[in-house]
């Protein structure tokens, strides 16, 4: 019988612990498919964050390191600077990347570190039970913004792709979403392009994936996808924010 759909080799057989309908699973699969298609599992080292994806080290079949909260880009830097021929990626949530790890993210980009970051923006702290994140939308209700995010009090969300695009060190930045088949396909293309950027030695790449957290948004998986389309994409427009792959010299 012809196999038409199978688990990518870059994923282990471990069942994931993600909630039903959570988009973390989709992104894991896309990352793994890209690793398979580029044939880089053997030289890949992944860095897992602190957040819902903390146990990504059990799910990807390449070598994996579990980083302290927010420090994945620094760990990745240490690995890549030690093994320049390896392939190094981090997988981080918005609290991890845009709050506690802001400095690590910005400076890895500014240095043009030849690594790839997969950034899951679900506008909330998933793992700790749904607190306000740096990417929580204005008026969005969370456990720690129970009356809705009041921008006069706690300020505005951080748009990471826009911010990072001002840095000369960043080579490839794209924001994508996994809310529908078309966008899932686009996300895969973006991840592959980002990975290729690293393989070509062209420096820092990041793919921001607009994602859902049905559990902490208090919505069904389908309603969460609708909410994402209605609220997140207007605030976080999809697209390529930086692509200097053709101007950058190989490292």
């Amino acid at each position: 019988m012809a196999v038409v759909f199978k688990k990518p080799n870059a994923l282990t057989d471990k069942p994931t612990h993600y909630c039903p309908g959570c988009t973390h699973g989709i992104v894991h699969r896309l990352v793994a498919e890209c690793i398979d298609e580029l044939g880089i599992e053997g030289k890949a080292i992944g860095v897992a964050p602190v957040g819902c994806a903390v146990m990504a080290y059990d799910y990807f079949s390449c070598d994996m390191i579990q980083a302290p909260h927010g420090r994945a880009p620094a760990i990745a830097t240490g690995v890549k600077r030690s093994l320049p021929d390896s392939f190094v990626f981090t997988y981080q949530g918005d609290g991890d990347l845009a709050a506690i790890g802001t400095a690590e993210t910005i400076h890895a980009a500014a240095r043009g570190e030849n690594i790839t970051i997969i950034f899951i923006n679900n506008a909330i702290y998933g793992m700790t039970g749904g607190q306000m994140a740096p990417t929580t939308l204005p008026s969005q209700v969370t456990q720690t913004s129970p009356y809705g995010r009041n921008v006069n009090e706690v300020g505005y969300p951080i748009k990471m792709c826009e911010m990072l695009s001002t840095l000369d060190g960043a080579t490839y930045l794209e924001r994508v979403s996994v809310d529908c088949v078309k966008n899932v396909n686009a996300t895969k293309r973006a991840i592959k392009k980002a990975f290729q950027t690293q393989i070509d030695g062209k420096g820092f790449s990041l793919v921001e994936v607009i994602s859902t957290c049905p559990t902490n948004w208090g919505l069904s998986p389908n309603a969460a996808l609708d909410w994402l389309r209605d609220n997140m994409i207007p605030y976080y427009p999809l697209g390529v924010y930086k692509d200097s792959t053709s101007d950058k010299e190989e490292k």
């Binding site: 390191i65 980083a67 302290p68 760990i75 240490g78 030690s82 400095a103």
Partner: protein, 349 residues
């Protein structure tokens, strides 16, 4: 050679090829030396955005299986605490140098030993130890660097050289073993360096959500600590054989203490010096031995007496343990220490 530069060169000779740091006085020359030397030998010097990042870069390099180090001074070591804990929890080797200055807070930039507690008791959260070495000369700093790297690799425990501003800035002649051959590093089967499709994936991780599992991992680590305590404790004993009184001092302070011990001997006071070279593991047995004949002890430190409790515990509080120290960056003089020794001996001559 200046102490800080000697530390750097010794690390290079020990096969260290990666350095991650953030500027801070009084360890500046170390990083500057690395910045000059490492690129010339195919290594990497990287100035991080903070000590937090530097220690995590060290963890990344250590996990990748290469020999790497970071250096800082007291306030920066506080920032490294998180990373040190993660390294300990994931059994990642690496060398951390603390050229101590006065604290707490921003404190001062003069020599100090006020990070004794931090280094030996709480270099980060959780149940763990790191190896802590306290050299007392530029030569000993050099010798301990390669030893610290070796032990760190062998036991998969992070190691720290606890120096101070005095040793870092001191100029002394040194001999650094140099060889043109590449240092043969131990094979690290556990390292996350890419499995090359030849083995199962390696995971460097400190998360164990099952309480029983975490307990098992911690207990296994403490078994290793026991082996370290039995085999790797280092200490110098000076004129302790017939000593009625014992001065205990480490690092740069031990030099001052030794001068005072010599002066006291000249006055006929039967005094000796015990100088812990490893602060963890602490030389408990050696202290217990000298306590058999000694009447009392005097700890001399550049802090408010942080080592006193360890000495008391080592000798089961069987003898009085007095303390003399200067802090804030003030260096005690041999005359001050001698005065204390005379007091300790009840004016006996």
């Amino acid at each position: 050679m200046k102490g800080n530069e000697a530390l750097a060169e010794a690390a290079i000779q020990a096969g260290c090829t990666r350095f991650f740091g953030y500027p801070i006085t009084p360890q500046t020359e170390l990083a500057a030396y690395m910045a000059k030397r490492l690129p010339k030998i195919g290594g990497v010097f990287l100035q991080a955005e903070s000590e937090v990042s530097a220690i995590n870069m060290l963890q990344g390099a250590g996990a990748a299986g290469v020999r790497a180090m970071t250096s800082s001074s007291s306030p920066g070591i506080s920032l490294k605490a998180e990373g040190i804990s993660y390294m300990a929890g994931a059994d990642v080797p690496g060398l951390i140098i603390n050229v101590q200055r006065g604290g707490p807070g921003l404190g001062g930039i003069q020599p100090s030993q006020a990070d004794y507690w931090q280094a030996t008791k709480a270099p980060g959260h959780g149940d763990f130890h790191i190896l802590v070495f306290a050299p007392n000369s530029v030569q000993e700093m050099v010798d301990l660097v390669s030893h610290a790297f070796d032990l760190s690799d062998n036991y998969r425990v992070p190691a720290m050289i606890l120096a101070d501003g005095l040793l870092g800035q001191m100029m002394e002649p040194v001999e650094i073993k140099s060889s043109d051959e590449k240092v043969e590093l131990p094979k690290k089967q556990w390292a996350t360096c890419g499995h090359n499709n030849e083995r199962e994936h390696n995971i460097v991780n400190s998360l164990f959500l099952q309480a029983n599992e975490l307990e098992r991992v911690v207990r296994e680590r403490f078994e290793r600590y026991k082996v370290i305590e039995e085999n790797e404790t280092m200490c110098e004993k000076y004129m302790t054989d017939d000593a009625d009184y014992i001065v205990v001092a480490f690092g740069a302070t031990a030099r001052v203490a030794k001068a005072a011990v010599k002066d006291a001997r000249a006055k006929g006071i039967k005094i000796g010096l015990v100088r812990p070279i490893t602060l963890w593991p602490f030389p408990k047995e050696e202290l217990k031995e000298v306590a058999v004949n000694a009447k009392s002890f005097l700890c001399v430190e550049m802090n408010m007496g942080q080592m006193v409790e360890d000495v008391k515990l080592a000798i089961d509080c069987s003898r009085p343990v007095e303390f003399f120290g200067r802090t804030g960056g003030v260096i005690p003089t041999p005359a001050e220490v001698l005065e204390q020794i005379v007091k300790l001996s009840g004016g006996e001559q």
